[in-house]
Subunit: 372 residues, 2 copies
Amino acid sequence: MTRAPDDRRGWRLLVDAAELTRFTVEALEAAGARHSDALVTAEVLVAADLGGVESHGVARLRRYVEGLHDGAINRHAVPEVVSEKGSVCVVDAHNGLGQPALCRAVDLAVDRAQRFGTAAVAVRRSNHMGIAGWFAERAARSGMLAIVSTNAVPQVAPMGTNEPMFGTNPFCYAVPTAQGSLCFDGATSTVSRGKLEQLDRLGRPMRTGWALGPDGRPTTDIPETVQGLIHRKGYALLPLGGGDKEHGGHKGSALSLFVELLCGPLAGAQWSRHTYQGGEAGLGHIVFCLGLEALGDPDTILADVESLAREVREGGPADTAEAVRLPGDRRRLLTETRRAEGIPVLGSVLADLGDLARFVGVAPVRTMTCDV
Amino acid sequence: MTRAPDDRRGWRLLVDAAELTRFTVEALEAAGARHSDALVTAEVLVAADLGGVESHGVARLRRYVEGLHDGAINRHAVPEVVSEKGSVCVVDAHNGLGQPALCRAVDLAVDRAQRFGTAAVAVRRSNHMGIAGWFAERAARSGMLAIVSTNAVPQVAPMGTNEPMFGTNPFCYAVPTAQGSLCFDGATSTVSRGKLEQLDRLGRPMRTGWALGPDGRPTTDIPETVQGLIHRKGYALLPLGGGDKEHGGHKGSALSLFVELLCGPLAGAQWSRHTYQGGEAGLGHIVFCLGLEALGDPDTILADVESLAREVREGGPADTAEAVRLPGDRRRLLTETRRAEGIPVLGSVLADLGDLARFVGVAPVRTMTCDV
């Protein structure tokens, strides 16, 4: 078999992006999703694998398929605009897949921002929606500065508490550039659970200041922490800046709170401990858009954005030839390579997708050329 | 003299808030500011002292007075709306004081968000504007979720560089509550220069991961770092999360970049090294507003915000009676106390204000009752 170059612990096989998308769409449809919903969901999941955000890629497909199959996710849901005032819309996802609902929200926000200059669209009664960056970049392609956030299953303890109250609550923005966009998409915790799982696979340690055990003390045991988070045994991730004010934990907490406020109470969605109760996730998302052309001549703005980006890229130490990376650079580069050469998928993930294929009755993922 | 209770190193004397405001207004007017501009500027500066953000209070008055006096700040400037498209306005501050310009921007943003649901107002050609929180809270009092940011003199090295390129670029938000608002206002660096100066006065150490020396290595020498930042000798603060990815430095960098992009290129203002060049600061600010009533019934939203806040406050460890603090709590409590009992002002700051009083020819600051 062709081994992918980033193979370390756990073997990986290369899968063509189109094939991974084919499989994902078919599996979702077989589980009951409408074709159009399956398409956008697959695109977002595969975009994560292409961009090196494997924690949010097809490794999560089982949850979607099982959710659709057993009714935890409403396969018949059609996202509905339940209120609209000027540049603000509220979308009820009716407990359907998160991706189609948030995609609808982005398109509404872009349209309203084209008409009004700015827009905000909130989504309620939604589910996991993959990587926020996919959605922010979609808006940026229409000349928008975009902010996209979501709340999530509670895993992060705000500073001063030991209790997982907030989701990893990504703060994501995209600003258009000639090459695509400057797009940052990061959890407001120092690390996500997916990152811990990845470190575990790579045999690397976790640091003090990333998580607390159920006794409220720092823990550096990755498997225990991961299992403790999954099974809600009182383990908690810490916000960006950690658990103390000295390193800015109050700032990370405040950012996480901001996302929870926006995507919970303001969006009319559930929040904190109240998500994933009573049979549905009840998550909320938010999209803000600001049309560059409402601010001035878009060409001038884009040229200035490019200048700023160039100055930072060239701002590295004189003794290194490497350009400084800006948000989204790594993801864009990986996406180009992986589109051309295939996506390295972990053997354990492929095995899981094989199980899923049998479960829903679709053709399994075909990996790229065999050399054995 | 009455000693303030938080006296540690450097004596402090209590000053009544109204008296500190009186002095600030008179000093600004004597330096050439219009009365209305002096009033709003004084209110923002004294609000910082009331709220315990002394680094942004009257300790900065000298720069304002000297700037107005020597023409670095345009005393005749009237903030002008230079473009308007739907819910978006751009204000040219004409190199006047930052506070009146940003206050105008907030009022425009509130008005447009009342009409359109959302709004964004950018300010260009501006100066230092004090604490962003004052402005965000002003918008929140009108039922708005508000985001306020500004760029600033370059002091922060984005991850991967040694060079101070970004300002401490506060990210500030306010969400209305029954008691006022949940308002976070923090630099996107781990610490600000003002914080270092404060630690120095208190005789406390600085930490590795807060700043770099001109050789690109971490420094923990406070006086050297402060002087190196002031005199632009290649010292740099580090973004929230520090200088490495392990602690989330890439996240802090991305947030700082976000503010620099918004308040620089997007606002049509200067950025990074180009600020404070050619005789004016050229700073930019941004205000976003989202009217809660565009999202749903404001009473329901406010009740849910209160519930979320209460759950976090009560989420502290069982063995502590203390409620968990939320953003803005400390500032609100201090403000109440200091309004009633007086503001403790450092002797060194009072001496400086005394010099200023002689310089502009106004009555010096009157401290509260003497007991010697």
